[in-house]
């Protein structure tokens, strides 16, 4: 996983609630076995039916073509569990998303792919949404070490759990950590096979 310590660049605004994973990556753009899905990000909003770019969609405007972060309304990433949504964002170059709340599975998928999904107070999000829509004000600096997001006018403290912050900063692989606990898993399964034999099948 690519470590995330410092991020600098344009913040793009999606001022709507309940942006679901079908909107982030439409089904017809997930039909290859790949994680290189940036071109399909927000496919139905970014392109018209002939495949031409929709000029007034934020990521098609000159100031936000290289956006590194998004700010959106509540419940961002709700819906389907497709991790393709996170892969599409990451492949496009988005590494952080700010919203009042997130879909649970989407949030877990972000953490697994080195993306920060940070919850911020509604009033802070409202300010960020306004600022992000101004080409001259939309640049942000994110510093994970200090746990802070800086805009042109303010420093916003981020509440990130220490474990998530460490994981993002180190880019460490959680599976390796859990494999280190194989002995615990073995012991658990051995004990359970006796207590609840119907749960297990012959290997």
């Amino acid at each position: 996983m690519k470590p995330l310590r410092h991020l600098e660049g344009p913040l793009a605004a999606l001022p709507r609630e309940n942006v679901d994973t079908d909107a982030i990556i439409p089904a017809d753009r997930t039909r290859e076995i790949t994680t290189r899905l940036g071109p399909g990000l927000f496919g139905n909003w970014r392109y018209d039916r002939t495949g031409k770019e929709v000029a007034d969609f934020v990521l098609n405007k000159p100031s936000w073509r290289d956006a590194v972060a998004l700010v959106a309304g509540a419940n961002f990433g709700c819906g389907s569990s497709r991790e393709h949504a996170v892969w599409a964002l990451a492949d496009f170059g988005i590494r952080a998303i700010f919203a009042p709340s997130f879909g649970d599975i989407f949030k877990a998928n972000c953490a697994r792919n080195g993306l920060l999904a940070a919850e911020l107070d509604k009033t802070v999000i409202a300010r960020l949404l306004n600022m992000a829509q101004e080409p001259t004000q939309c640049r942000i600096v994110l510093d994970l070490e200090d746990g802070k997001l800086s805009t042109i006018t303010e420093d916003i403290p981020l509440e990130i759990s220490p474990s998530l912050r460490d994981a993002l900063m180190s880019g460490r692989d959680e599976i390796a950590d859990v494999l280190d606990r194989s002995a615990d898993i073995d012991a658990f399964q051995q004990r359970e096979r006796l207590i609840r034999p119907w749960v297990y099948f012959e290997q």
Partner: protein, 476 residues
């Protein structure tokens, strides 16, 4: 202090608590399908890792496969690579695959209860957010992403924060001709599409207790539409008798032993939930969605709401939804024309759902210009339906009888809407473009979808009493 059912199952599966406060939770059953698992297998191999417990992992093909009669894994050409990858990976890892030629193939959440793979008190995961369906049997089941699939393949565990708990009570009995689908749509409307985020849900109350297993699966299925990953119902005799004799369920003395433990799977009287919500079951009417979020619903005799009367936060979403759906405030929902009807999915693709649709369609005909797809949830559902002659009722009525799969629920194949097309659908999501770019989805029960097929418009199924021989069994 008593414990909730959710906490009891959680504690049974907690291997340890990690330094960061998350619990390492054992996963008893891992279900996989062809769309979200190939990447996980590829990454597993890249990292030089193997599948820890292939015997606890089961696979099927459902999402990106054609449902045309006579289909193969290649009929929908763009799905072929996914199908082949799943066949290759499961064969190499020694994982049981219910392939297209198996009599047990079907939608992943339809087959696992059918086969007795889902059992009370198990922890279960699958790379599909509607895994919460299995809570209908009392399993703690939830959807995961591909990286989590990889982790479960490698370790049979996940590191998770214990969820907060939400109990939804439904008191009173559902009125005649009001179904489990209407109930869950009403619950989603009341709690909201993000009302359950961060919570695991337990459904309780007299209206829940009297539901059949298939109806409970429909209720739990749409828990994710509240934003909750997990939803369950305490298992009882209804569940135990459903499970007896199923392929992978314990049998004989082992079954009795299991039941004696399952009887303890309920929340203690004095258990403390983080939140509780109450609804009256007897006040619920047949319900349809009018918007692009599953909480945007109205009773069938209602009208499209006026965003002007809503709170500011709901207003902009409702306005955008009405624009997308091409509906005006104040329009009656009864009478909105449709050109497509979809009966199927893991929400409503089981035998009782097909019976309800068939009872309405028997002796009637699908409206001119409406294309109606009836897609059984699994091979077993299909075979049972054919034994009862339901397939002939559908085809005589002018509907198509298809092979099992997700079909128009996710539209990952060619079962999809064209831009602007409007569909009466028994699936679970009415998001923009969910059934095809530009397509417009109205969620409803199987009987309501069948009524829409006959009328060529959304309408009240209660105006179409069964006319055929299915009338005698009440069309349930």
């Amino acid at each position: 202090m008593g414990r909730t059912l959710i906490d009891k199952i959680w504690d049974m599966h907690r291997i340890s608590t990690l330094p960061d406060g998350r619990d390492l939770v054992h996963i008893d059953r891992h279900l996989i399908h062809e769309v979200t698992s190939p990447i996980a297998f590829a990454k597993l191999r890249e990292a030089g890792r193997t599948v820890r417990n292939p015997e606890l992992t089961f696979a099927t093909i459902d999402h990106i496969v054609s449902t045309r009669p006579g289909r193969t894994g290649e009929t929908y050409a763009r799905g072929a690579a996914f199908v082949q990858a799943l066949r290759r990976e499961t064969a190499a890892a020694g994982i049981k695959l219910f392939d297209l030629d198996s009599d047990a193939q079907g939608i992943v959440h339809v087959i696992s209860p059918e086969l007795g793979l889902a059992l009370p008190g198990l922890t279960m995961v699958c790379g599909d957010s509607h895994t919460c369906t299995l809570g209908g049997l009392g399993a703690l089941a939830f959807g995961i992403g591909s990286s989590e699939i990889e982790q479960v393949l490698a370790t049979q565990c996940l590191a998770l924060h214990r969820p907060r708990t939400l109990r939804i009570h439904v008191d009173g009995m559902l009125p005649h001709a009001v179904t489990a689908k209407d109930l869950i749509l009403a619950i989603v409307a009341q709690v909201g599409a993000r009302g359950g985020v961060g919570h695991a849900v337990e459904y309780a109350g007299s209206a829940i207790r009297t539901l059949s297993v298939e109806e409970r699966l429909t209720i739990c299925n749409m828990t994710i539409e509240l934003g909750s990953r997990i939803g369950l119902i305490a298992p009882d005799e209804t569940v135990f008798s459903f499970l007896r004799g199923r392929d992978y369920a314990p049998s004989g003395a082992a079954f009795d032993r299991a039941i004696s433990e399952w009887r303890g799977l309920c929340s203690d009287e004095d258990a403390d939930f983080d939140r509780e919500v109450r609804l009256r079951g007897d006040e619920i009417a047949p319900t349809v969605t009018w918007g692009t979020s599953p909480d945007q619903t109205a009773p069938i005799d209602g009208v499209v709401p006026d965003p002007g009367t809503m709170t500011t936060s709901d207003q902009s979403a409702a306005t955008a939804a009405l624009r997308y759906m091409d509906l005006q405030p104040g329009m009656p929902l009864d009478g909105v024309p449709v050109t497509r009807v979809f009966i199927g999915s893991c929400t409503n693709g089981r035998l009782s759902d097909l019976r309800a649709a068939a009872a309405l369609l028997e002796g009637r005909h699908v409206h001119k210009g409406v294309r109606t797809l009836v897609v059984p949830g699994s091979m077993r559902v299909k075979r049972l339906a054919e034994t009862e002659g339901l397939d002939r009722i559908f085809t005589t009525a002018g509907a198509e009888w298809r092979e099992p799969g997700c079909s128009m629920c996710c539209a990952l194949q060619d079962d999809s809407l064209s831009p602007g097309e409007r569909c009466a659908s028994t699936s679970n999501r009415n998001f923009e473009g969910r059934q095809g770019a530009g397509g417009r989805t109205h969620l409803m029960s199987p009987a309501m979808a069948a009524a829409a097929a006959v009328a060529g418009a959304i309408t009240d199924a209660r105006a179409y009493p069964p006319k055929g021989r299915l009338a005698e069994c009440g069309g349930t």
